[in-house]
């Protein structure tokens, strides 16, 4: 009989098989992303007329002699066919790689994304160095927006048409419409530079150094980033909740004699939150690859700020590294959401 698998051993096997399949798919996805990224950064410039010498000249700096450039082309194997270059790039990520720059060898252990054009630092440690700031910002903001956004959305839906609902939805409309560099600068101007309640831009301190400063410096960025998402989530939750409350099974729950509060929390919220969980996972994954606008506005040295600076400075290896790094988080978030969804919604077929 279809779909009548008893829970227990075979059910668990199906779940494990499902997770394994999704992990394999995620790894394949990352491979495809790395190829696409590599193609964008190496194939397209070449198609537009960029030569291996042109690429190499970025490594050896200004006023380089033709011999130096030729040397760099040789050392970096820039005259190899692109497929070979990609193979070397991929191998570097998986197994690490040694460059022979000049007389000394530069070791680049896995995962190797190469060295920055601008300061010759290896890309991966730089990324790891920037990650805590981005993590602090994204996770803190996520907690705030999830709690406030969903909370406001639920209350708005239950009190539809009330003054509270209208006020909340007006603020939410402002929230989704105002860009972060506006709300961020206004909050800095008011709360940091006029009232002096919170420290201003560029004050981010790692939590390991000074937890109090860490917290204080992140309050404004958290609120700024969370405001946008909370507004979005409030609108989503409100719409989802209104739809769910009109479902037949809500009427059934009431007909059983359940208290209204239980109808809302156990029956309506469960169904409303499931699609929001999906969006939340993807949003969080996206932000872990760098909250570019927020980090720039508040001068937080996170991954987003790193990539913006790298783009400005034409620092190809860093841009490439951050792109793959961000893609990794998005694929990871997708994977987690898929698995969670299968746990939360019994209708998701695992086979």
């Amino acid at each position: 009989m279809p779909g009548s698998d008893p829970p227990g051993h075979s059910g668990r096997t199906i779940v494990v098989a499902f997770i394994v399949r999704r992990v394999i798919a995620a790894v394949l996805m990352l491979a495809v992303v790395s190829m696409a990224t590599f193609a964008i950064f190496f194939l397209i410039p070449r198609a537009l007329g960029q030569t291996p010498e042109g690429m190499a000249s970025r490594y050896v700096g200004r006023d380089a002699t033709p011999e130096a450039i030729q040397g760099a082309v040789k050392r970096l194997h820039l005259d190899d066919p692109l497929i070979v270059q990609y193979g070397r790039f991929a191998k570097g990520i998986v197994a690490g790689q040694d460059y022979s720059l000049g007389p000394k060898k530069a070791e680049c252990p896995a995962p190797c994304f190469g060295f920055s054009f601008n300061n010759n630092q290896p890309v991966w440690p730089t990324l790891l160095d920037r990650l805590p700031a981005t993590l602090s910002l994204a996770l803190g903001a996520a907690v705030i927006w999830l709690v406030t956004g969903v909370g406001i959305g639920v209350v708005s839906a239950l009190k539809r048409g009330s003054a509270l609902d209208r006020a909340a939805m007006t603020v939410a409309l402002a929230g989704v419409s105002l860009p972060i560099y506006f709300t961020g600068l206004v909050s800095l101007s008011v709360f940091a530079y006029t009232l002096g309640i919170f420290p201003g831009g560029g004050s981010y301190t790692p939590v390991t150094e000074n937890p109090v400063m860490w917290f204080q410096s992140l309050v404004l960025p958290w609120i700024t980033l969370a405001f946008l998402y909370a507004a979005l989530y409030a609108r989503l939750t409100r719409a989802g909740m209104l739809e769910t409350m009109g479902e037949d099974y809500i009427r059934t729950a009431r007909a059983k004699g359940l208290k209204e509060r239980t109808v809302v929390t156990k029956h309506a919220l469960r169904a409303t939150l499931t699609p929001i969980l999906t969006i939340f996972g993807l949003d969080l994954g996206l932000l872990l690859g760098g909250a570019v606008l927020t980090e720039s506005t508040f001068s937080i040295q996170g991954v987003g700020k790193l990539v913006i600076d790298a783009i400005r400075g034409n620092d190809l290896p860093v841009v490439l590294g951050v792109t793959l790094f961000a893609a990794f988080f998005i694929v990871l978030a997708n994977l987690i959401v898929d698995v969670l969804y299968a746990v939360v919604d019994p209708r998701v077929r695992l086979s």
């Binding site: 037949d248 099974y249 059934t252 009431r254 059983k256 919604d345 019994p346």
Partner: protein, 346 residues
């Protein structure tokens, strides 16, 4: 008139109106009937005639919403329209329960069938989960679900349509309700499964001696189950009587139309059904006079009263009530001479 009635369930002049931007929707507009324990009432009518709104109104599910409710609903000596929301909630699921149409959407997709029955039972009984689970398995077995101890953990989407409806019935019966309302209980099912479900409901009704209201647009279903039949049109009762009255001596032109549009096996397959012309009335701008007059083939025989006066619901004989301007003798003669021969012609 606020004295408690002798009947188990009695509705007195129930009105359920919904204010909307387009105007006041009079979904139920002055409905009265009585129902005793162990009896079955069939409520028939087209979509939008107020059948479902009435049943949700009895359960008190319009309370606290936008609806304006007046009249009286007496259940076992208690008046429910003026009762507190919390009190009606405590009766819901226990004293009165409902079987909904389309059980796939009426059951929560994220909870197992068992969990939903257990929940219904534990609202009104202070028992452990294990005890409630055993009760749920018993119920599923009683409504004819094979291997109930295994299927209790299945989700609604893993059940077939007929099994879902059985599970829905098990859920409604979990607290031994004295009043059971079934809203289109077999609409979504195959004909063979329909018959099983109907048998199941009559068996269970006999066992519990509960009062049963079947709401449907399918005259075949009410013919099989009902002691009494109430025909609704435009939020009002247009004809009420025993099943024999409605099937063998119907007096309202709308009832004639319903009978004429019912498919019958004893007719030639080529014979066309006789649909009721026109569409159900708007419940905001109800036609003046008799709500059925724009669709009534006999409206011209009322000397103009059909568009100027609302007909009253009057007794013709022995508890058979009809809301029609045509004089009784004329209705009888139209039925005997015009409608009945047409329905029986093959």
């Amino acid at each position: 008139m606020t004295t408690p009635p002798g009947s188990f369930l009695e509705l007195r002049d129930l009105r359920i109106h919904f204010p909307t931007e387009d105007g006041l929707v009079k979904s139920v507009d002055g409905l009265s009937f009585k129902l005793d324990r162990g009896r079955t009432l069939g409520i028939v009518g087209e979509s939008g005639s107020g059948k479902s709104v009435t049943s949700l109104g009895i359960l008190g599910l319009h309370k606290g919403g936008r609806a304006r409710i007046s009249g009286e609903i007496w259940l076992d000596g208690e008046e429910l329209v003026t009762a507190s929301q919390d009190h009606v909630r405590s009766l819901r699921g226990k004293k009165m329960a409902m079987i909904f149409q389309d059980p796939l959407s009426a059951m929560h997709p994220y909870y197992s069938v068992g969990a939903q029955i257990i929940e219904a039972y534990r609202i009104h009984h202070d028992v452990s989960k294990a005890v409630a689970r055993k009760h749920a398995v018993d119920l599923l077995g009683r409504v004819g679900i094979p291997q109930p101890d295994k299927r209790v953990d299945d989700f609604p989407h893993q059940f077939s349509g007929g099994m879902r409806q059985r599970a829905m019935i098990a859920m409604a019966l979990s607290c031994d309700p004295e009043l059971l309302i079934a809203d289109e209980p077999t609409t979504a099912l195959d004909v063979t499964v329909q018959a099983q479900i109907l048998d199941l409901m009559t068996d269970l009704q006999r066992e519990f001696n509960s009062a049963l209201i079947i709401i449907t647009h399918d005259l075949g279903v009410v013919a099989e189950l009902s002691d009494d039949i109430l025909v609704m049109y435009g939020g009002r009762c247009v004809e009420y009587g025993s099943a024999e009255d409605i099937f063998y001596r119907p007096e309202h032109p709308y009832s004639w139309g319903l009978l004429g549009s019912m498919p019958r096996l004893d007719r030639e397959p080529t014979e066309r059904l006789l649909p009721i012309k026109g569409t159900p009335p708007s419940l905001i701008n109800v036609p003046s006079g008799c709500a059925f007059n724009p669709r009534c083939a006999f409206a011209d025989r009322t000397e103009g009263r059909s568009t100027s006066q609302v007909p009253e619901l009057l007794e013709t004989e022995g508890g058979h009530l009809v809301r029609c301007h045509l004089p009784r003798a004329q209705r009888r003669s139209i039925w005997d001479n015009e409608i009945k021969p047409m329905l029986e012609s093959t």
